[in-house]
């Protein structure tokens, strides 16, 4: 037997009892190498001892307890999904409120801008009217306004004759 065969037997010994063929191979090997007999026997006994370890104590209703725990977990997950749904819904509603408020504020701002612009136009139009008024004759033409106003009223024919004389003089 070569080392590979020995290692295979050793691996097999570590996990289970050897079959008939393997036992025959091992017997032949140990007959040729009796110095390894004790080590092999210890291996066998250890494997046997490990295999004979009793099962750990387990409650008879273990499966029922597991199923109960699983149902509780499912109920908690359902509750969590419901809460998540409410949270999602209120988050959406909050988004709509935010969107509406933003829209209202924007409209108000645009309206304010519009009125400001209109006011500026009105002011500009008023200024333009003032400029037109500024093109009128100077104020000194009104300096004899009171005297002229108090003159006795003459007939229009005499006025017309006066205007013709004045025009001829120019």
């Amino acid at each position: 037997m070569n080392d590979t065969d020995i290692n295979k037997l050793r691996d097999a010994t570590a996990r289970r009892s050897l079959n008939t063929e393997e036992e025959a191979q091992l017997r032949a090997y140990l007959a040729a190498h009796p110095e390894f007999r004790q080590a092999w026997e210890e291996d066998f006994r250890l494997t046997s001892a490990l295999g004979r370890l009793p099962d750990a104590p387990l409650a008879s209703n273990f499966t029922a307890q597991v199923m109960s725990a699983v149902h509780r977990t499912e109920a908690r997950q359902r509750g969590r999904r419901r809460r998540n749904w409410f949270r999602w819904f209120f988050a959406q509603a909050l988004r709509w409120e935010t969107a509406t408020a933003t829209m209202v504020l924007t409209l108000g701002w645009l309206t304010a801008l519009h009125f400001q612009a209109r006011h500026r136009v009105e002011v500009a139009q008023g200024a333009a009217a003032v400029v037109r008024i500024a093109a009128l004759p100077p104020m000194r033409i009104l300096q004899d306004f009171d005297s002229i106003k108090n003159l006795p009223s003459a007939s229009w024919r005499e006025d017309a004759e006066l205007l013709a004389v004045l025009a001829a003089a120019q």
């Binding site: 250890l46 001892a49 009793p54 750990a56 387990l58 273990f62 699983v70």
Partner: protein
């Protein structure tokens, strides 16, 4: 065994589709092997049982993510091992004394008695109980990776490759762990192994 031929993987795929009866079948099949693995790591029976229940609850909660890429038992023992490691780390941060674990000051007191129901005489039964206690202590004293490797070796359906997958190391490293664990156990139990008490 290819994952697609693994009947337990097929059952787990049914669990993924919502078949609770398939889940119950898996629990019934694996509750004892999982409990055996956890109990040898956390020698407190009550805590080990709680953790074993958590393993299956975790399996159920993870069902939607399950892919039959490997054998179901490999996936299951990986979850069991990870939960054991988490518990060991948690205990490392918040140590508490177990009422069931053997205490150095009370070594002569028997811990939980696990009676062997095979047909031994009363003297043989006492001896058998003592031997089992000794081997339990020796296993508990192993480093975690060696202990897990040697306990998984008991599960005949797991190939060395599957054990390597659970441990997250290579095949050669896994065989090395098993070999070192066995050498340590043989050294600790030499007196019993040489007398042929087993």
């Amino acid at each position: 065994m290819a994952a697609t031929c693994d009947p337990d993987a097929m059952l787990m795929l049914r669990v993924k589709r919502g078949d609770i009866a398939a889940f119950e079948e898996l629990v019934n099949k694996y509750k004892q092997p999982v409990m055996n693995l956890i109990f040898r790591t956390l020698p407190d029976a009550t805590e080990a049982e709680d953790l074993a229940q958590n393993v299956f609850v975790q399996v159920y909660k993870s069902a939607h993510r399950y892919k039959a890429a490997a054998k179901f038992s490999t996936w299951l023992y990986t979850i069991a091992r990870n939960l054991c490691l988490n518990e060991i780390r948690r205990r490392g941060r918040h140590p508490a004394e177990s009422m069931d674990a053997p205490h150095p000051d009370h070594e002569e007191e028997g811990s939980r008695q696990l009676h062997d129901i095979k047909g031994f005489s009363p003297d043989q039964t006492v001896l058998q109980a003592e031997l089992e206690e000794k081997i339990q202590q020796a296993i508990s004293a192993l480093p975690e990776s060696q202990r897990t490797a040697i306990l998984l070796c008991r599960q005949e359906e797991l190939a060395y490759e599957d054990i390597a997958s659970v441990l997250g190391c290579s095949l050669s490293a896994t065989k090395s762990l098993i070999h070192r664990a066995r050498e340590t156990l043989k050294a600790r139990l030499k007196a019993y192994l040489r007398t042929g008490a087993w």
